[in-house]
């Protein structure tokens, strides 16, 4: 079985967020991690590999620095890493990103593609399903459990109050939730092996059956009007009053601010 896992290097929100003048994220200036949903997707692929035997290829689109996240995935047990990087691909929204990744994946053999549900920097949950659309294969999103049976996958798709069990013939695409599993740690030896391994680097020219008009900032229908970091809350106001006085005080404040 051949599994392709799409992963993304995202800002570590603990380290603060920085923006470019055009409102897109300044990815070079931030501490980064592997997107948690993607990491769960990778773990799911590695468990399928442990159970059934599989070749796991991780692919990411990003700055050259995104190579780190591929090394991390390989240190966890992925077999191959592909970095899709090119200046013309910068500033991509979900449409351009999914076009790019689909263009790269068309070069690969695969039975199963796993992506994270969504990335913590964009929270759109669109890229995975869009890739499946471009490739013309079925998609099962929000997977909380993935099993393989013959040439099919059986997936529990999570809803707020229930889950659906869906079966799809491979090749297909599954989007994974962070709750799917507890990802394994890298191993120390795996880290050194990952750095000794070759990472395949692809640019625009390597993408198959993709039109320029669908790539990069120019190919992105989404226009960012304004972007800002989360407003940090102050310490607030602390008062020491007995319970009755406290209620009066709070009611007074809420009225003052026209909340009630």
């Amino acid at each position: 079985m051949k599994i392709v896992v799409c992963i993304k290097q995202v800002p570590d929100t603990k380290g603060g967020v920085k923006f470019n003048p055009d409102g897109t994220l300044d990815r070079g200036a931030m501490l980064t991690i592997m997107n948690p949903d993607d990491k769960a997707g990778l773990e799911a692929a590695l468990r399928l590999k442990d159970q059934y035997g599989a070749e796991v290829t991780v692919i990411t689109m990003g700055l050259p620095k995104a190579e780190e996240v591929l090394r991390e995935a390989m240190a966890m047990g992925a077999d191959k890493g592909i970095l899709v990087t090119d200046r013309v691909l910068g500033g991509a929204d979900t449409w351009a990103t999914s076009q790019t990744l689909a263009g790269a994946i068309r070069n690969l053999e695969y039975d199963l593609i796993i992506t994270g549900r969504q990335a913590i920097d964009g929270d759109t949950a669109q890229v995975g399903p869009q890739i499946s659309e471009h490739l013309g294969i079925p998609v099962i999103s929000y997977a909380q459990k993935i099993e393989v049976e013959g040439d099919s996958v059986i997936v529990e798709r999570q809803y707020d109050d229930r889950y659906h069990v869906l079966k799809a013939k491979m090749p297909c695409l599954v989007t994974a939730l962070a709750e799917l599993n507890e990802p394994r740690y890298m191993t120390p030896g795996g880290i050194f092996d990952a750095y000794n391994a070759e990472i395949t680097v692809w640019g625009r020219a390597d993408l198959k059956d993709v039109d320029d008009s669908n790539l990069g900032l120019k190919g992105s229908p989404t226009q960012i009007a304004k972007a800002s970091d989360k407003v940090r809350k102050g310490a607030g106001e602390k008062v020491t009053l007995d319970p009755t006085e406290s209620v009066d005080y709070i009611i007074g404040k809420l009225k003052e601010k026209h909340v009630i």
């Binding site: 991390e72 240190a75 394994r184 740690y185 191993t187 120390p188 030896g189 795996g190 880290i191 050194f192």
Partner: protein
Amino acid sequence: MDFMLSKQHEMARSLFREFAEKEVKPLAQEVDETEVFPRATVEKMAKAGFMGIPVPKEYGGQGCDILTYAMCVEELSKVCGTTGVIVSAHTSLCCDPILTYGTEEQKQKYLPDLAAGRKIGAFGLTEPGAGTDAQGQQTKAVLDGDDYIINGSKIFITNGKEADVYVIFAVTGTVEKRGRMIKEISAFIVEKGTPGFTFGTKEKKMGIRGSSTYELIFTDCRVPKENLLGKLGEGFKIAMHTLDGGRIGIASQALGLAEGALETTINYVKERKQFGRAIGAFQNTQFQLADMATKVEAAQLLVYKAAMAKATQKVYSVEAAKAKLYAAEVAMEVTTKAVQLHGGYGYTREYDVERMMRDAKITEIYEGTSEVQRMVISGALLK
């Protein structure tokens, strides 16, 4: 000269740090209070490959360098001195001598299980009358047919009752050296469950309380002669060489304890208010922190230098001795200052620095006291 770590080492450090924060730190206080060996943590470390970091891949290890191993012990010890020493004693004192002196059969038999953490290793040299004076050994091994019969006891053995494979030293005869008769010491691999091998009392310790420190008792314990490690009479050399490596592990543990105490204190002094200001705003606090940080970094450089020396040099006794001497004394000094800066709270078991100070003391004592390290260093200077 470049003091930058490679990307691989940086990534390995981030792995060890993440593991320590998630898996080890939450249990550190409980492990200390209950004095229970953190078996579940060891199993998780085994799964992540931490129990065989410098063991070559052909024997089931991770095939990494000593620096990577040292960083693992350092990061674990930042949050829990007990967990740090479990890995250190297992790796430096059991895997390493088997790897260095074992026959191919012995390596094939023992290293894969040890490196995968399926089995835990320990080392038995110290006896009631043979601490710093390792020549004072009383434990004897006598050849009887195809077996050696071991009689005697060992004390203060780290991973004592929890281990499965032990490297044990015993007197196998006497030899003449420079005109006088001295004991001939040999090393043996002894497995748990060997008839005649039992455990005595568990030590009640000041620090590293979760590490299982036991007395090992050998009563007519028959060990097959193929379990002789190295050549007959090579025991003293094996012990000294093993301890050179062990000192890098303990130096890393000491370094981690100092770093952990410093980090904890930096956070504390930003929060703790006295006289209407965070105590970090007072010059005394700032100068104490500056001294602590400087010494911690100096210790780190010595520890990393010793780790690199083990990888590149045949003899690295002096580098290991300097690293252990300095890192242990810095650990004691920094953890003591950390308690002082925490004031009354630092003296309570609610705060980690109290445990770190108790854990730090042993690093000046075991695997060669600070005095022994000074003997090694000065001996090389005056040779």
